[in-house]
């Protein structure tokens, strides 16, 4: 049997689960765990969007992407949806306002071609096998697709009902219609119509409505409330 040593690093830090847009469009980091959630201080107004992956944080700035390891990747203006594959160091970003899909292997960036008719990408995540799983809207219809970066081909494709859809960090599809939200056969009714999905780490999904924000996981029925962000 292998012999193991515990490298006494026990590095201690509580990273955010992710980020949430609050009043005035400001981004707020979300911290916490089941039954206990906190919001941190708002990010600077220049931060368009942000995401947390396995200890790495990405911030979309007006002119590019700032990575927590001090790298800066040039990218057009606009909010971004990210996917990160730690094994290969592959980063993919969908820039909403310019409708461009970009890919970086290390610091090398390139455009990815998306099919004609793709209006928006609601969420992206790499599967365990390195396939890019996405939820996008094509010609008004929401779809969940799996896309191979290696072959450039769509591996699978299925319709998603609802008005908005995204993926959580485990690749589960979330969809909404009005105040009703669904994931993996679970359904929740929110305090008001859903304004925005915000995927967080550990499978959590922040659900922003007009009155405030709630948090849920596909694997459990309970809905938790997030503290209202301070304006």
């Amino acid at each position: 049997m292998p012999w193991f040593w515990l490298l006494a690093q026990a590095a201690m830090a509580l990273p955010p689960l992710g980020f949430l847009h609050g009043p005035g469009g400001r981004l707020y980091p979300v911290y916490g765990m089941r039954g206990n959630f906190l919001l941190g201080e708002a990010a600077p107004e220049t931060v368009r969007s942000a995401a947390v992956f396995a200890g790495m944080t990405l911030w979309k700035m007006p002119d590019g992407i700032r990575v927590s390891d001090a790298r800066f990747l040039a990218a057009p203006e606009g909010r971004a949806v990210f996917a990160w594959r730690q094994a290969s160091g592959t980063l993919v970003a969908w820039i909403r306002e310019s409708r461009r899909m970009l890919r970086w292997e290390g610091d090398e960036g390139s455009d990815l071609t998306v099919p004609e008719g793709v209006e928006d990408v609601g969420g992206m995540v790499f599967t365990a096998h390195g396939v890019l799983r996405m939820v996008w809207k094509v010609d008004g219809q929401l779809e969940a697709v799996e896309f191979s970066l290696d072959t450039g081909r769509i591996v699978s494709r299925e319709d998603v009902p609802g008005e908005q859809a995204t993926l959580d960090s485990n690749g589960n599809v979330w969809s909404s219609g009005g105040a009703d939200v669904s994931c993996g056969g679970r359904h929740w009714t929110l305090a008001g119509p859903l304004k925005e999905f915000s995927p967080l780490a550990d499978g959590w999904m922040a659900l922003r409505t007009e009155p405030g924000a709630e948090v849920a996981r596909c694997t459990e029925p309970e809905l938790f409330q997030l503290p209202v962000p301070m304006p």
Partner: protein, 456 residues
């Protein structure tokens, strides 16, 4: 027209030509006194006043040495005491008052101002005496213009007072008109005109029933006399609040419902607040996650509507509070309308609770990220036990590490209550793919808790 003695007229004229001028004043209008001043009539017992003004019409200062009135029922009222010096052009005012307890067809008095004399005439007709009955049964005389105060009463409720109308004379008195106005109502049925026999009296009851709160006024009118009435309407008192907390508040990492109810439906609209105080079990260790979730604060306002037995938080009957991840005491205080209620919940120290375990497998390294919370902030030891796919414990068995210093340093610096994320790296001398399960155990001052086996 009455005949006036000539000398009176001459004296009056001398007064006018002298350094002082005499006027009667009504409102802002001055009327020079040219002879007799007829004050008119008044009911018995009711004072009749005439405002008199004396002006120094000369070019230099002049002094009034004598100021008096003589005549049955007449007197000076609010008059200065001589000597009174008046600067040229300046004036002074006083009242001549007449009151008679008996009917009097023609009352007569002489007003003297230095050497000048003016005659005042007045009459008194038989009128009712009005008394307000006090709580101890005594009677307080009331004159027209004197306000009678009613006891403060809750709006919509009623307080009342009795009044006695007395005829002390030897002739009957007819009351032609009796009415009550404003926030007051006549309880006693009275049909005017109404005759009071000589020596008799009659009691009436007047109720004060304000529709709203604040100072309210009205008038008791008896013929031409007006007797002001006043009272204060009060808002009804608020009921006493009680606090109801949902299950789970005695545990960390819970979002629990809180409601504020009342011992009776509220009889008014009102507003209050629910306040939360958190005292951590360990010194200097507040927890920012202990808040009301709808506003992220430790105080939250509520309202109650008239007729309702329950407070509303932004139109909801309940609000959520988060218990945080720190052991301690939660004290909730509801305050409204001078009443308060409080309740206390103790969040007991508990063993470390692991929320998520993430395993990243490398060729020769197993990386483990553990998130959880320690509400005592006293974690001292962590132990890892690994298993193969057959469920067999992998050598060397339980791997223990002392983490007391590391956790202590972390909790002192991190403002996240008892939450933590720990990353542990296990370099391997062999393949890591045979390892498929782990159990993690933490020890703190509250005890030891082992996680269920996580397979990966």
């Amino acid at each position: 027209m009455r005949p006036y003695p000539l000398f009176l007229l001459l004296l009056s004229a001398a007064l006018l030509r002298g350094e002082f001028q005499l006027f009667t004043v009504r409102g802002t209008a001055e009327t020079p006194v040219t002879g007799i001043v007829d004050m008119g009539g008044t009911p018995t017992g009711q004072p009749l006043d005439v405002l008199v003004r004396v002006r120094n019409a000369g070019a230099t200062m002049a002094t009034i040495q004598t100021l008096s009135v003589q005549g049955t029922g007449f007197r000076l009222y609010q008059a200065p005491t001589p000597p009174i010096s008046l600067v040229a052009g300046f004036s002074m005012d006083f009242y001549v008052r007449f009151v008679s307890g008996q009917p009097l067809a023609e009352g007569r008095a002489n007003l003297r101002v230095n050497n000048a004399t003016v005659t005042f005439l007045a009459s008194a007709v038989a009128g009712v005496n009005v008394y307000a009955i006090e709580e101890d049964g005594t009677k307080t005389p009331r004159l027209a213009g004197q306000s009678t105060v009613f006891s403060p009463v809750e709006r919509g409720q009623r307080s009342s007072r009795r009044f006695v109308l007395e005829n002390p004379h030897s002739v009957p008195i007819t009351v032609n008109r009796l009415s009550v106005s404003g926030s007051f109502q006549l309880v006693t049925a009275v049909a005017a005109p109404w005759v009071l026999a000589p020596g008799s009296d009659s009691t009436i009851e007047i109720a004060f029933q304000p529709a709203g709160s604040g100072l309210k006024t009205g008038t008791l009118s008896i013929d031409d006399r007006a007797f002001p009435l006043e009272g204060v309407g009060r808002e009804p008192p608020f009921p006493k609040p009680t606090i109801t907390i949902g299950p789970g508040a005695e545990q960390s990492a819970r979002q629990v419902k809180v409601a504020v109810n009342f011992d009776a439906p509220s009889r008014a609209d009102g507003a209050g607040q629910l306040r939360m105080e958190f005292t951590p079990a360990m010194a200097g260790a507040d927890d920012p996650a202990v808040v009301f979730l709808s506003n992220g604060k430790r105080t939250i306002p509520f309202v109650v509507s008239s007729g309702q037995p329950q407070a509303l938080f932004s139109n909801q009957k309940e609000t959520l509070l988060q218990t945080g991840t720190t052991a301690g005491t939660l004290r909730l205080v509801a305050e409204m309308g001078g009443y308060s209620a409080e309740t206390t919940v103790t969040i007991a120290p508990a063993p470390v609770l692991v929320d998520t375990i993430t395993v990243t497998r490398g060729l020769d390294l197993l990386q483990m990220s553990v998130k959880g919370f320690d509400n005592t902030r006293s974690a001292s030891e962590v132990a890892f036990t690994f298993f193969d796919s057959g469920g067999n414990m992998i050598d060397p068995g339980v791997i223990r590490a002392s983490v007391a210093e590391r956790f202590q340093a972390y909790f002192q610096a991190a403002p996240m209550g008892g939450m933590f994320a720990m990353q542990a790296n296990f370099p391997a001398t062999g393949l890591t793919n045979v390892i498929t399960g782990v159990e993690i155990e933490f020890r703190n001052q509250a005890g030891t808790l082992r996680t269920p086996r996580l397979t990966f």
